[in-house]
Amino acid sequence: MAYSDKVIDHYTNPRNVGTLDKSKNNVGTGLVGAPECGDVMRLQIEVDENQVITDAKFKTFGCGSAIASSSLATEWLKGKTVDQALAIDNMAIVEELALPPVKIHCSVLAEDAIKTAINDYRVKNGLPELEMPKSHH
């Protein structure tokens, strides 16, 4: 199976690798996936007082497409408001990275990670938890 140039680019030069201080109130952390399934993503966002995501970091255990999906997600998150971030759909990631059907679950996982991180941020700041769509992968 050949990878798209964009997947290779994100895999070779992953953007925003790292760790934010999860104890801070304005940091939301999403840890999704499972080691047994062969992919785990941790995605973190830092949000300012205007609900704008000022920083995003990730670490991913997984295949090239999983790494690329989470790397791309952090790029897209930065500068977006939390509400805009919630609208990111996994199919946009599929399209941008030209993921083949067997790799769609990587994009679903990235969307889950975004939503989980936002929920973590919301709960920390006394906002009600949003209902997570059931993922199918």
Partner: protein
């Protein structure tokens, strides 16, 4: 000069030895007769070449040339052996014993037999990948007609105790078949000393061409028969019809001759390189060799690098052609059933790479591979949340992972 990428996937297939190609060439060009044509020189020449190849192969595995049935490869040989025995010995019983770690060509053939009214016992292996001989003997019933245990495993290279298994089979009057695809041409295989009744092997795993293989079928003590699975002109003593693949057979014969002649020297050199590769790669923190290192083929090493995922790792070692037990390499999303049969957790099975060396592998290539893998593992661990947690002393089993 190092030529990239480096091929270290020799359990999948081996390159054709130039000496084999040279021997085959006349049979791909001028000598095109049908080995069954009895009435002219074209046919005689082809038949002579096939007979000679039969002798070369017989010499490698210590059998009579008459006991070699040519096929299209090991998958066909596995099918012919298992289905052929099941049908031929139906009046004696319908029970077959095999291993969970067999190649799919054996497992799927056994599934077919089950649908046809057969009973199959799939024995588990221990954490080293080895059969439990007591369990084998305990599984035998008065309906057992065949024990099918591979000589050496394709993913981890573990060699089964073939002589002990055949002794048990003999004691109970049961036929013993072995899929020896990974072993023939690599380690000494002797059907007499090993007590083998039927044995499958293939050309392209031993520097021969693809599309040709053989089934050894014992003719004496006992005389073994299999029901043909391909009907036609009655070739190969009626057990496998179809015009003989003369160039392929000539190639398999030459590959067998070279294997016999070079095995000792090849093995010494290849094993030294494999051991060095393994020694170096296991200096990487949290790396584990899968399967027995004591009973193992000389050219294989299967290593799990914990906290990195196999497919991601393969992408990182893009200048190496290796394979992984990771789910992502298959459509099924299930990690290697062989590694799981050793009791490996799914995450370790996902993190494995298989290195398969050949007689053409060089020290320079191994040096490169060592550096390349070390670098890739280290890079991916920097990206791995699991590695970070491990380093922080977090027990990954204590985390409630989302099912997906």
């Amino acid at each position: 000069m190092l030529s990239l990428p480096i091929y270290l996937d020799n359990n999948a297939t081996t390159p054709l030895d130039p000496r084999v190609l040279e021997t085959m060439m006349p049979y791909l060009t001028n000598v095109y007769g049908n080995a069954s044509s009895r009435n002219h020189a074209f046919g005689w020449q082809a038949e002579e070449a096939v007979d000679y190849a039969r002798e070369q192969i017989a010499a490698l595995i210590n059998c009579s040339p008459k006991e070699i049935i040519f096929t299209s490869g090991a998958t066909e040989s596995d099918n012919l052996a298992i289905k052929g025995v099941f049908e031929m010995y139906a009046s004696k019983g319908n029970h077959i014993i095999t291993l969970t770690t067999e190649h799919k060509a054996v497992l799927d053939t056994c599934k077919h037999v089950e649908k046809a009214g057969g009973n199959v016992t799939y024995l588990k292996v221990d954490e080293k990948g080895l059969i439990d001989l007591n369990e084998l003997e305990a599984a035998i019933t008065d309906k057992t007609i065949l024990i099918s245990v591979m000589y050496a495993n394709n993913e981890i290279g573990v060699i089964q105790p073939i002589r002990e298994i055949s002794a048990i089979a003999k004691k109970h009057g049961i036929l013993f078949f072995t899929d020896a695809t990974q072993a023939v041409g690599k380690i000494p295989v002797d059907v007499e000393a090993d007590g083998i009744d039927l044995m499958a092997f293939s050309g392209h795993k031993m520097y021969g061409p693809k599309g040709v293989g053989a089934l050894y079928v014992r003719r004496k003590n006992p005389r073994v028969k299999v029901t043909a699975q391909i009907d036609g002109g009655g070739h190969e003593r009626g057990m496998r019809s179809g015009t003989l693949n003369v160039p392929g057979i000539v190639g398999l014969g030459k590959a067998a001759e070279i294997a016999k002649q070079d095995m000792e020297a090849d093995t010494k050199r290849i094993a030294a390189m494999r051991d060095r590769l393994e020694r170096e790669l296991t200096t990487i923190e949290e790396s584990y060799v899968n399967g027995s290192t004591e009973h193992r083929l000389p050219h294989v090493s299967n290593i799990s690098f914990k906290y990195v995922e196999g497919e991601g790792l393969m992408m990182g070692v893009k200048d190496l052609a290796v394979s992984s037990g990771s789910a992502c390499t298959s459509a099924s999303l299930e990690p290697s059933y062989v590694l799981k049969a050793l009791g490996l957790s799914d995450d370790l099975a996902h993190s494995s790479l298989r290195f398969g060396l050949s007689r053409f592998t060089t020290d320079e290539e191994i040096d490169f591979a060592i550096g390349h893998v070390k670098q890739a593992v280290s890079k991916l661990r920097e990206l791995s949340p699991l590695w970070e947690m491990f380093k922080e002393g977090i027990d990954l089993n204590s985390i409630e992972w989302a099912e997906h």
